[in-house]
């Protein structure tokens, strides 16, 4: 497989996952903030910008940190490379240039997704239609993932897609946890009644893990348990532990077929011990940041091994 093609597939998978996860993030906030005091609204929306590390880009584009501007930035802003519209465009561009290795039906679905986002991204800005819009993005991304899962031969193309998907997914899970921790911090500043249960419940729902949590953890929704669940539960498909294993598998497989040493060692990911609710404060947030940097380092190693630009 061409190195260039491998790289584009990897990015296509990342951007597809990003479009889906950004939709999830907005969705969880939309839901969550209804349950919080009004003063908290705009400041909490801005968490979404901060935890995606895009405050600088945002501030350059907008003066007011209003819900509308923030959602617009995340849904349709072409200057934000991680907005849903930009991500979907990137998926399409990457797959457009790798059409020789993906099933034709996958290309059609990407196209339809692209057309849908172009037509409806305004709906994402309107509260009344936002839910429907976000759900549609999530469903379409999942259907595309499902199609690839069910029809793509498990060759290098598949492994690069798996790598990209899981790197992005692990990264996003840390950000979704950070989103929860951030709102929790905000509520403390405003000294409102403790809405922890609402917050962590929504964090779970945002990655479709609420039911799994209930069945696996068999306790009430407690921040420390939720955090451990999303970080360490090896059986949960969006946990950092599960994604790490997938990354390792894909990298090992690729190192065999490409005759290169696997650059990935997820055992070296930083650890953090969570015992009580108090462990979810500033230290926890800086740990999540460290984890994101470690994931970014894996990304760099993947690039250097398989996508060299000589």
């Amino acid at each position: 497989m061409l190195a260039r093609v491998a790289e584009r597939l990897y990015w296509a998978a990342r951007y597809l996952e990003r479009a889906e996860n950004t939709s999830r993030l907005i969705g969880v906030y939309d839901n969550l903030l209804f349950d919080l005091p009004k003063d908290l609204l705009d400041i909490s929306w801005f968490n979404l910008i901060e935890l995606n590390s895009s405050a600088e880009t945002f501030n350059r584009r907008y003066k007011v940190r209003s819900e509308r501007n923030i959602v617009k930035f995340l849904v349709s802003d072409p200057d934000n490379p991680s907005s849903i519209a930009a991500s979907v465009r990137a998926v399409r561009e990457n797959l457009r240039t790798t059409r020789d290795v993906i099933p034709p039906a996958a290309w059609e679905q990407v196209n339809e997704l692209f057309i849908y986002v172009n037509k409806h991204s305004r709906d994402g800005l309107l509260r009344a239609r936002r839910h429907e819009f976000l759900t549609e993005i999530i469903e379409r991304s999942q259907s595309l993932n499902g199609l690839l899962h069910g029809s793509l031969i498990r060759d290098e193309a598949w492994q690069f897609i798996k790598l990209g998907r899981n790197i992005e997914r692990a990264d996003m899970t840390t950000r979704i946890l950070d989103a929860g921790a951030a709102v929790l911090e905000n509520t403390k500043v405003f000294e409102t009644s403790n809405p922890a249960q609402v917050i962590w419940g929504n964090v779970l729902r945002s990655i479709d893990a609420y039911m799994s949590y209930r069945r696996a953890v068999k306790s009430t929704v407690r921040g420390s348990d939720v955090a451990r669940f999303l970080l360490d539960e090896e059986l949960l498909p969006r946990s950092v532990a599960y994604c790490s294993r997938q990354i390792c598998q894909a990298a090992t497989n690729l190192s065999q077929v490409s005759g290169r040493k696997s650059p990935v060692n997820t055992d070296k990911l930083p650890k953090y011990i969570i015992e009580k609710e108090g462990d979810l404060g500033a230290d926890f947030r800086s740990y999540l940041n460290e984890l994101q940097l470690a994931i970014a380092a894996i990304h760099v190693q993947i690039c250097q091994t398989w996508f060299p630009h000589d």
Binding site: M1, L2, T97, D100, W107, L254, R260, W306, D310
Partner: protein
């Protein structure tokens, strides 16, 4: 509202489906009745379905002047054009004959040049040809074939006869649209397919693959075949990707390939370098190798010509093949066929005046208002003059151009291209002019597509069908008549 073919105005034209008394021609009878029964509203719905399908399939092409919107949906008309199989079989024979002779000609030009020594084609035509490549002299490509993929444009004049209008031997495009048009039509008019004996077109990619595989210099079981594209900004990028996918070949850009000190071509893969055997290149000669041609080309591969000359890689089409798609050489093709094959051309040429010849030039200048004037080396419908549709000023400009560089211009009578019913925005079919581009393959064997790409001038009365000039296309049906 049903559609009455009696009201279809094609009395002064040759229409492919409807005769000039307003009756459907025999092979089109079922289709015409079906369309008529569907009526205006349902046809409109089918057209919307077609547009949506084209969009979903991502069938697109690029128009260089459309700023910001690099790929545009392919304009498609849902009413197919029908040709009886019996007529088509004759045309296919003629096309094979033509390509075979053209390849013998190109091979001769780059070796002994006997056709010039025998006085059939004048030597200066070759020396002055923009597409003659001295770098290719003496090279021996497999089977002596240079033009492996040829797209010849056929037109039917008012007399109902088919003519070859031009041969495209460099990097002809359009075949993917032929295939996609069929796929769309199957979705949009499924009822007609079940009852009609339409010959399939989908074997093209596997024929293309076999043709390319036969060129491999290494006799291995699975030669590495790649499609070399200039990239996403090329107007035919969609097609490059489509063909690579259909053949299971790698779609590569120049930067994916390199020529090593052993003069072999390699591609950069995740495993490191892998040898490439056959390159279906969709980049013009001038850009394929900066060591030999355009020095600043970013699209090509340095050293590619070296590797090709050594016989370490096959290039399809071979560099230099364009020497035979010059429009002046075109005028000589009937003689070329006779010279190499000892046969009469099965499909006639359109009569052509060479401005280089003094008598003919005078005739052209005198009759410029009724002729089509074309530059010898342009494609895509650029830089031509359609006399009857031009202003005095345009005509004067062309007279000046011809006088300055007579070798570079030819003229042909303005043909009344045949028409076929095409849906207009009003929802009714009206006659629109069209042509047909079949594709012919040659390496070990010869193959012709079943039909080809029918291109339509979507504007009433217009004779320009090129997609780069706003033309559209239709599905082309070769229909086997049932034993009457």
């Amino acid at each position: 509202m049903s559609i009455e073919w009696k009201n279809y105005e094609c009395a002064d034209l040759y229409d492919e489906l409807i005769n000039n008394r307003g009756n459907p021609r025999q092979p089109a009878r079922r289709l015409a009745n079906f369309v008529s029964k569907l009526g205006v509203e349902e046809l409109q719905k089918r057209r919307q379905l077609a547009d949506a399908t084209v969009q979903d399939m991502g069938v697109s092409f690029t128009v260089y002047t459309d700023e910001g919107n690099i790929d545009r949906a392919w304009p498609f008309d849902i009413i197919p054009r029908i040709i009886p199989a019996k007529e088509w079989n004759q045309i296919a024979l003629g096309l094979k004959q033509r390509l075979k002779a053209l390849n013998l000609f190109i091979n001769d030009i780059y070796h002994k040049q006997e056709i010039i020594k025998d006085g059939i084609v004048p030597a200066y035509l070759i020396q002055n040809s923009k597409n003659f490549r001295p770098e290719c002299v003496g090279v021996k490509p497999a089977f002596g074939v240079w033009a492996h993929i040829c797209g010849s444009d056929l037109v039917r004049d008012a007399d109902g006869k088919m003519y070859v209008l031009e041969d495209n031997l460099r990097v002809p495009s359009g075949v993917s649209y032929m295939l996609e048009n069929r796929a769309v039509t199957k979705r949009v008019l499924p009822e007609v397919f079940g009852r009609e004996n339409v010959l399939p077109v989908d074997d093209y990619p596997s024929k293309l693959f076999d043709m390319l595989a036969a060129l491999s210099p290494r006799k291995v079981k699975q030669p590495e075949i790649v499609v070399l594209t200039p990239g996403i900004y090329n107007s035919a990028y969609f097609e490059h990707a489509f063909l690579a996918q259909q053949m299971g070949a790698e779609l590569v850009e120049g930067s994916d390939l390199l020529v090593d000190t052993d003069d072999c071509v390699y591609m950069r893969t995740i495993r490191g370098r892998e040898r490439v055997d056959v390159i279906y290149r969709r980049i013009d000669d001038m850009f394929i190798d900066p060591e030999v041609f355009s020095k600043d080309s970013m699209l090509g591969v340095p050293g590619l010509m070296r590797a090709w000359k050594k016989g370490n890689v096959a290039l399809a089409n071979a560099p230099g093949a364009g020497v035979a798609d010059d429009k002046v050489i075109y005028a000589y093709v009937p003689k070329i066929i006779e010279y190499y094959l000892g046969e009469k051309a099965l499909i006639p040429n359109v009569p052509t005046y060479l401005c280089d010849n003094e008598d003919e030039r005078e005739y052209v200048i005198e009759h410029i208002h009724e002729l089509v004037v074309k530059p010898a080396n342009e494609s895509g419908g650029y830089g031509m003059l359609v006399g009857p549709h031009s202003t005095k000023k345009d005509q004067e400009k062309f007279v000046k151009l011809i006088k300055e560089n007579p070798r570079n211009y030819i003229a042909q009578p303005t043909l009344m291209l045949s028409t076929a019913p095409t849906l207009t925005d009003g929802g009714r079919p009206e006659p629109r002019h069209l042509d047909l581009r079949p594709f012919i393959l040659q390496s070990k064997d010869l193959y012709v597509t079943t039909g080809g790409l029918t291109r339509v001038a979507m504007v009433k009365g217009s004779l320009v069908v090129n997609s780069s000039q706003g033309g559209g296309s239709k599905d082309t049906w070769i229909v086997e008549s049932e034993g009457v």
